[in-house]
Every structure is written in structure tokens, then in C-alpha cells.
Symmetry: C2
Subunit: 301 residues, 2 copies
């Protein structure tokens, strides 16, 4: 997961507004798309062409103002394959108005997938990965996103006597199915002929939100968690007023959810020295890192 | 005049899409506002606060996509004084939709001044400066802008016997008026008691356009001229197809208009080496310079 922008509402101190690129299971998922996202993609040598799914958490400008420029560029660079866009309905209105006033029709199809704020639901799924949206607690309708790998076929254990097993049985054993005879007795047990599955990876993106038990509940069991941490504890009243979180609150969410690792971001423009935010977080959740432009984080098992 | 962005449709090769800042007569006029304009303003230490008039030539994204981010930032930084915006009506729709979906009402008033494509007209005027829009020849309605200093009061020539002239006459002499007696005869001639006026400065911004006799006619007598030069001569068919100009065509416009100096910009993404465009222009109009991010140009007399 590559950080393209780590800043809160204002792009200052060399930081860009929020955007991340998640590479998982042959997908390049773009998560939020702050202004100048396309500049950042070029800087970090990410091909626009490979981005087919863009997830926009909410319609505050610092989370989507780079989108129109990116789409116009895709159009100018003759993209022809579909682009899937997951966000609230207003974004469709905004984008279509901008194309209309430019007297322009994109060469490619933009497939809008509207988000609903109120519930956790699967918004994308293929054989390799699923993506769920889940509600944040912010000033306007806002979703976070959970990306989960799906189990790939198991590998056969070649140290076992598999040569005598019919091919159609092997296919089913690799899917984790046991083979039963007509009496319902197990004749071949999948676990006996396959190697143990590797752990599946997952990532939770908790966008703008004040700390929320619903968020903790939604991300239980996710190893790598991003959570916004706009303020230090000294500005907690500002955090409540604007429905954001402090670094310590983000850390408490990660702790309560049993996360493996936490990344904090969406830093207020008032902070030049981000280690002060990190210090407050690690006291509560030691395995915390700062989202910094250009930093990559591995999805661990 | 400071170049903030020199690139055509795509922000590549370290270039930003079109934007310029013109400092004249206590005004900081922002001319077009490509994506990440606010990043460029910060980079070059220009205060957003001092920008009160923004001119957007047309509604192709590379000329206005930085505007919403800039306005959101002004709002977040508690701007309270009016902002005047000169552009086509669609821009108002786009901006208002973006504020509406953010559930946000700007702290300051945005005063929209709609452009009309078909004619040359004064769109702003105060005692120091006037701004005219004039039509370009592009794919969608597009205007250029001419900024003209107005004559300041003349200075009295203190080597002359002005002590005996009534003060109310001196005020009129400084305005360039001659004083007549009751018979209509000149008693005090302004030119006899004042120093010669300094030449007035002006700047013409010729946005996206194919070369146009109307543009030549509109900018006659303007000393500093910016004209787009998207392509080299080898791509002239592409220039016609997209209603843009080549560097040589921009130079011919400057020559035919009797310009003092020409700045070319809005370079196609295909050119990494901009001196090739400059070479083609200077053959026709020697006093040509490249618009490069961070370069400043004086308005000469």
C-alpha cells in the first residue's frame, strides 16, 4: 500500500491531500483521490492505465478533487477500458457536469457504484478479493473500506500418493472439499492431500471519522489498519467539533480492534513535526507508523 | 507576471497545467487555475489572501481544476472578503455543486461575473486598471483577457510658476484637463505645467485558440503578450484538429499585432525539450520567451 497523500484538508508542508494506492491480487485500487493525485502517481511511477477501481470515501474536497483531472488525463491518453467508481451519488453529478461543460465524452465507460452510508456491505468481489464499505462517523456521509484476499486454490502435497486420485477429485480437494462415497463416508480428506493454506491478507481504510465503536467492530481481525489522526490530544475539542480523531484515539481503535499494525494520516496543517502525533499514538498502540508520501506498507499475513 | 503552470492538457515533465499571477496596480490577478494551483502559490510564496479576482478563460479542466481546492482552502483559512470570479456560467454550477455536496457554505462571498464569448468587453475596472475579455477561437467558448493600467494623475512640473495657480485648477491640470476662460480660451494648458505621463503598461493573455485575426486585432498595441503554443510546426494538423496554435503561429500573431514581447506556453505533453518550440517562434518573432514555472516577466512600458 503506497501513500500518495497524507494531509488533512489543506495541502501544506510538502504534503498532499489524501490518496492511497493498494496493490492486491492483480488489482491497483485507488483509495481517495486528493488534488494533484495524478502528479503523485507520475512521481511514483504508477501507471494510471492499471487503475480500474477507485474508492472515494466522502465528498469533502481533500478526498476527491484530484479525480476529475485524473479522469480527463485517462481520456486524453485514450483509455478505453471501464473504470469503476465507488462513492456517494453526488460525485457522479459533479463529474458529469465537468465533462459536459468541457463538451467532452470520455472514451471509456465510468461505472458508478453508489455507496450507502448506513451499512456494511460488499461493494466489489471477484475470485481473488472482496471489498466492503462500512460507515464512518463524520460530518457528512462517509465510508471506510475493507479489502480482503479470498482463499486461492490449495496446493497439492506432492509427498502424498496423489497419482492414483482421479483428476476431478483433485480439483475438489484443492478447493478444500472432502470426497465422500455413496454412503457419505470420507474417502479423501482435503487436508490430507493439500498443503496448509497461507494466511489471507486484509487492509482496512478508516477515512475521516471520530472514534467509533462501529468502526472497531467492523475492522476486528484486520491486520493492517489505516485510521485518520488529524489532531494531537491537546486539540481534542477541535477533533470533536470537526468529527475527526486524535492520534491517541486512532491508536485506541487499533488496540480495541486487535489490529496488527496501524498507519495514521490525514494530519492537520498545523503540525509540521509529525513525530509528535506518532509519539502520542505509540503510547497506546506501539506498532504505529506515519503515512508519509511515498512510503509503502506491506499487507502482512 | 509569474508563471504558475505552463503545461497543456496533461501535467507532465514537471510542468503544471495553466495558471498565471499578474501583479498590477495593487492587484494580484489570478489568470486560469489549473490543478494544484494552490500548491504552486505556496511554493512561490504567494498569499492566497491577496487574490481577489480570478479569471478563468474556459471550462477545459486544465484551466480550472485547481479552483475548487483553492476556494476550499480560502474557506478553511477563514477568508471573509469577497472573491470575484470571471468565467462562463457552467463554472458557477460546478463550484456550487461541490460546496453543496460538502455540506459547506463559504465564509466569503463568491461574486460570479459571467463571460460572454462573442464580444470584447470590459469586465473589471477601477481607478487604476481595466480588464477586458475578448473571444478566442477554440473548441468551446473561450476568452482571452487584456489588462491595462489607467493613467495616474500627472505630476506637476515644479520648475514652472505653479504657485500662482488656484489649487482647484492644479487638480484639473493633473488630470490632463486644460483650463478655459469664459470665452473658451485656454488660460492654463495641462501639458505646460505637468511632466510627460509615463507610458501605461498592459498585458494580453491569449488562452487556448487557433490563430485568429480577431485576436491580432484585439491585442494591437499591447506590449507584453502571452499566446498559447501547444505544438511544433510538424504537428500543425493536430493543432488544427484540436483548435490550438503552433509556436510559429503564436509568433506570427505577436508580429502582426506589433507586440513588444511574446511569452509562449500551454505546451503539449509530447515535448520534453521546449527549446525546440522556442526556436520555431524566434525565427518569426525574435523577442519570445518560454513560460516556465516560477519565471517572472515584467510588464514593460
Amino acid at each position: 500500500m503506497l501513500i500518495l497523500g497524507s494531509s488533512g484538508a489543506l495541502p501544506v508542508n510538502g504534503r498532499f491531500t489524501t490518496s492511497q494506492l493498494l496493490s492486491v491480487a492483480n488489482h491497483q485500487f485507488l483509495i481517495d483521490c486528493g488534488e494533484a493525485c495524478q502528479h503523485q502517481l507520475r512521481k511514483f511511477e504508477v501507471s494510471q492505465h492499471k487503475i480500474n477501481h477507485i474508492f472515494v470515501s466522502h465528498l469533502h474536497g481533500d478526498h476527491y478533487l484530484g479525480l476529475t483531472g485524473l479522469l480527463f488525463s485517462m481520456h486524453l491518453l485514450h483509455r478505453e477500458h471501464d473504470l469503476h467508481l465507488y462513492s456517494f451519488r453526488g460525485l457522479e453529478d459533479i463529474l458529469l457536469a465537468q465533462f459536459r461543460h468541457a463538451h467532452s465524452v470520455p472514451h471509456f465507460k465510468i461505472v458508478f457504484h453508489p455507496l450507502t452510508e448506513a451499512k456494511k456491505e460488499v461493494i466489489f468481489e471477484d475470485e481473488h478479493v472482496s471489498v466492503e464499505s462500512f460507515p464512518m462517523d463524520h460530518k457528512i456521509p462517509t465510508c471506510g473500506f475493507i479489502f480482503r484476499e479470498k482463499p486461492p486454490p490449495l496446493s497439492l502435497d506432492k509427498s502424498k500418493d496423489i497419482g492414483s486420485i482421479p483428476v476431478e477429485y483433485l480439483v475438489r480437494l484443492k478447493r478444500g472439499e472432502d470426497i465422500l462415497n455413496e454412503k457419505g463416508e470420507v474417502t479423501f480428506r482435503s487436508a490430507d492431500y493439500t498443503l496448509p493454506p497461507r494466511p489471507l491478507r486484509s487492509y482496512a481504510y478508516c477515512s475521516d471519522t471520530q472514534p467509533s465503536p462501529q468502526v472497531v467492530s467492523a475492522i476486528k481481525g484486520i491486520d493492517l489498519v489505516y485510521h485518520e489522526a488529524t489532531f494531537m490530544e491537546s486539540e481534542i475539542s477541535k477533533a470533536r467539533e470537526t468529527r475527526h480523531s486524535t492520534a491517541a484515539e486512532a491508536a485506541a481503535v487499533a488496540r480495541d480492534a486487535g489490529a496488527g499494525r496501524l498507519i495514521i494520516g490525514h494530519f492537520s496543517a498545523r503540525y509540521k513535526e509529525l513525530n509528535l502525533l506518532l509519539d502520542e499514538a505509540v503510547k497506546i498502540f506501539p506498532n504505529t507508523a506515519l503515512a508519509l508520501e511515498g512510503e509503502s506498507f506491506e499487507l502482512t499475513d
